[in-house]
Amino acid sequence: MTAVVVEALLKSAVLLFVLLTATAYEVLLERKLLGRFQVRYGPNRVGPWGLLQPLADGIKLLTKEDFAPAGADRVVYVAAPVLLMTVALFVYAVIPFGPEVELFGRRVTLYLADVNTALLLVLGASSLGVYGLILGGWSSNSKYSLLGGLRSSAQVISYELSLALAVLAVVLEAGSLSLVRIVQAQEQGWFVLRQPVAFLVFFLSALAETNRAPFDLPEAEQELVAGYQTEYGGFKFVMFYIAEYLAMITQGALAATLFLGGWHGPLLPPVVWFVLKVLLFVVVLIWIRATVPRVRYDQLMGLGWKVLIPVALLNLLVSAVLLL
């Protein structure tokens, strides 16, 4: 019993460390890649190839004044980023990075928990994240924040529907809500081949869910300064930032798990395959950001409700008929 608890704690600690480091370096990766896409170098002053840049950024942000705007609802103002970050991290409890491996003479699973409703947990957690956005926007006592918060709540709720519908097709294929089972079901063939439409819908919804370009309206700086984050600074801002970039990795991990065969792949160890797939997803997101303009709010909602949801529903219907 103790061993199990210790193992879970150790795994959580390692996971937390890996995730937070990954987020920091994801930001660096984005800046570097964006730099290259835009014929410039990106950060290259701190450490070799700018590798210590995240550290410098972190120190800078952590040593900033802990500020709150006048008239802000203090408790909610602080709680919003905490909630968002907690929820973003929570998802990783159920995401499988690899199969069982031998470590120090014990059989260790490369996931924290194999819950039979894992997918529901993931979707639920990302819905909870919306509260972070709305509360952050509302409690700041600023019009820009409020508009940003309203936009993001509308956007995330709309696209969660199409995301869930796309994911349901995979559940039909695998016959399980457990992410581990879904990966195991893809041993013979990745679901992206069997469910290309679902993958497309999932991908577009994931872009909107993570507030990434071209759907990064909640923080459309050209219209809303920085959206719901406008009045945030220092450590609280870091938490929003971490949550946002963690969400990118989360969607990457979900895409890998649900559509790209999870840890399956030839030659390389399973974990490496998983990381590679997530990385690919993240790089594509960054690439898109460097290329496309931002859509307008009504166009975004139109795409979600008039295109993605009907398509996802139809796809689900067809899959269900074919599978049964």
Binding site: L34, F37, Q38, V39, R40, K143, Y144, L147, A213, P214, D216, A220, E221, Q222, E223, V225, A290, T291, V292, P293, R294, V295, R296, Y297, D298, Q299
Partner: protein, 391 residues
């Protein structure tokens, strides 16, 4: 029970990432729909017009550069042309061609800034970098001829300060050689991009009638379908020697203005190439000693030259009494200078006809009934320079 409908008033600017300077807009919103828009200007008021009354005609060239700072060459040209008209001075053909070359290069540079900033307004941040990469080449050309990248102070009353350096022509030709490919690249990235089109088509529409009523000029006017271009309508500085088209739009939306400006860059390139091919030989500044400084070599031989030099440097030019208006086609529209002279060495009054100012007037008409996000597109599509609006 009746429901009260409340509108939300938000303040966009003067410190705002996409008002292209220090423009402030008071927007009344109903949801995200614009009910009214009121531009508040004056945050970049420099008093240049007033300041010009206290400086000699020649000193003022340094001031006018700073009005429409993205197209200083046009500014200098308009000002110099006005003073030349007052003086009745003929500008040598070579100087006229050099002026055309620099103005058209400047137009490309200015339009590139417009394209790049429109890009960041729509979150295509890469575009800004690409545009600035190309603009950098033009700034280098400017540095070659004038020693300055911006604010060149290169044109003189009666000509230009110095002849083109030897390395200018090959460098300019090389840039013009590569430029169309770059433009094609940007157009491939934008014109056929669904999101780009959706954000521009039917957005910030300005009808022909409104455009005329507001006194809009430049690409903003031509986007609404009126082919008015000062270069064609009132040719100056030998523009009638060159062949070029004046592109116009049909619907008067932001997309038409985008297409007009893209085409203008190609036309400007055409003009520069023609001017380079046919660049006549000869002096680059008028031989009128009452207007232009005598060459250095003459100073050691001629007492008269020394006197002219002394008078011009200490007092400056004395244009005859009178009033004059001269206009050029700047990247933003008709840029005119109205100068009143009382015969002294300083103007009594200088009034600048600023295209950005009159174009900005049309903004409320463009955005009313649109979405908040369209305001950004509208501002970008009229391409204002706040220094020009406030002067």
């Amino acid at each position: 029970m009746t429901l009260a409908r409340e509108t939300l008033t938000i303040n966009m600017g003067p410190q705002h990432p996409s008002t292209h300077g220090v423009l402030r807009l008071v927007l009344e919103l109903e949801g995200e729909v614009i009910v009214s828009c009121q531009p508040v200007i004056g945050y970049l008021h420099t008093g240049i017009e007033k300041e010009m009354e206290n400086r000699t005609y020649h000193q003022n060239i340094a001031l006018v550069d700073r009005i429409e700072y993205l197209s200083s060459y046009h500014e200098e040209l308009a000002y110099c042309m006005a003073v030349e008209k007052l003086l009745g001075v003929e500008v040598p053909k070579r100087a006229q061609y050099i002026r055309v070359i620099l103005c058209e290069l400047n137009r490309i540079a200015s339009h590139l800034v417009w394209l790049g900033t429109t890009g960041i307004d729509l979150n295509v941040s890469s575009l800004l970098m690409y545009c600035f990469r190309d603009r950098e080449r033009i700034l280098e050309l400017s540095e070659m001829v004038s020693g300055q990248r911006m604010m060149p102070g290169y044109f003189r009353i009666g000509g230009v300060a110095a002849d083109l350096p030897e390395e200018f022509e090959p460098a300019a030709r090389q840039f013009l050689e590569e430029f169309p490919r770059r433009l094609d690249e940007y157009e491939a990235m934008l014109t056929d991009n669904l999101i780009w089109r959706r954000r521009h088509e039917g957005v910030a529409v300005l009808s022909r009638e409104d455009a005329l009523a507001y006194g809009v000029t430049g690409p903003t006017l031509r986007g609404s379908g009126i082919a008015y271009d000062v270069r064609k309508a009132f040719p100056y500085s030998s523009y009638d020697d060159f062949e070029f088209d004046v592109p116009t739009g049909e619907r008067g939306d932001a997309f038409d203005r985008y297409r007009v400006r893209m085409e203008e860059m190609r036309q400007s390139r055409r003009i520069v190439l023609q001017a380079l091919d046919r660049l006549p030989l000869g002096p680059v500044i008028t031989g009128d000693r009452k207007v232009a400084l005598p060459p250095r070599a003459e100073l050691v031989r001629s007492m008269e030259a020394v006197i002219h030099q002394f008078k011009l440097v200490s007092e400056g030019i004395h244009p005859p009494k009178g009033e004059v208006y001269a206009a050029v086609e700047s990247p933003r529209g008709e840029k005119g200078y109205y100068i009143v002279s009382d015969g002294s060495n300083r103007p009594v009054r200088v009034r600048v006809r600023a295209p950005s100012f009159s174009n900005l007037q049309a903004l409320p008409a463009m955005v009313r009934g649109g979405m908040l996000a369209d305001v950004v597109v509208a501002i970008a599509s009229i391409d204002i320079v706040l220094g020009d609006v406030d002067r």
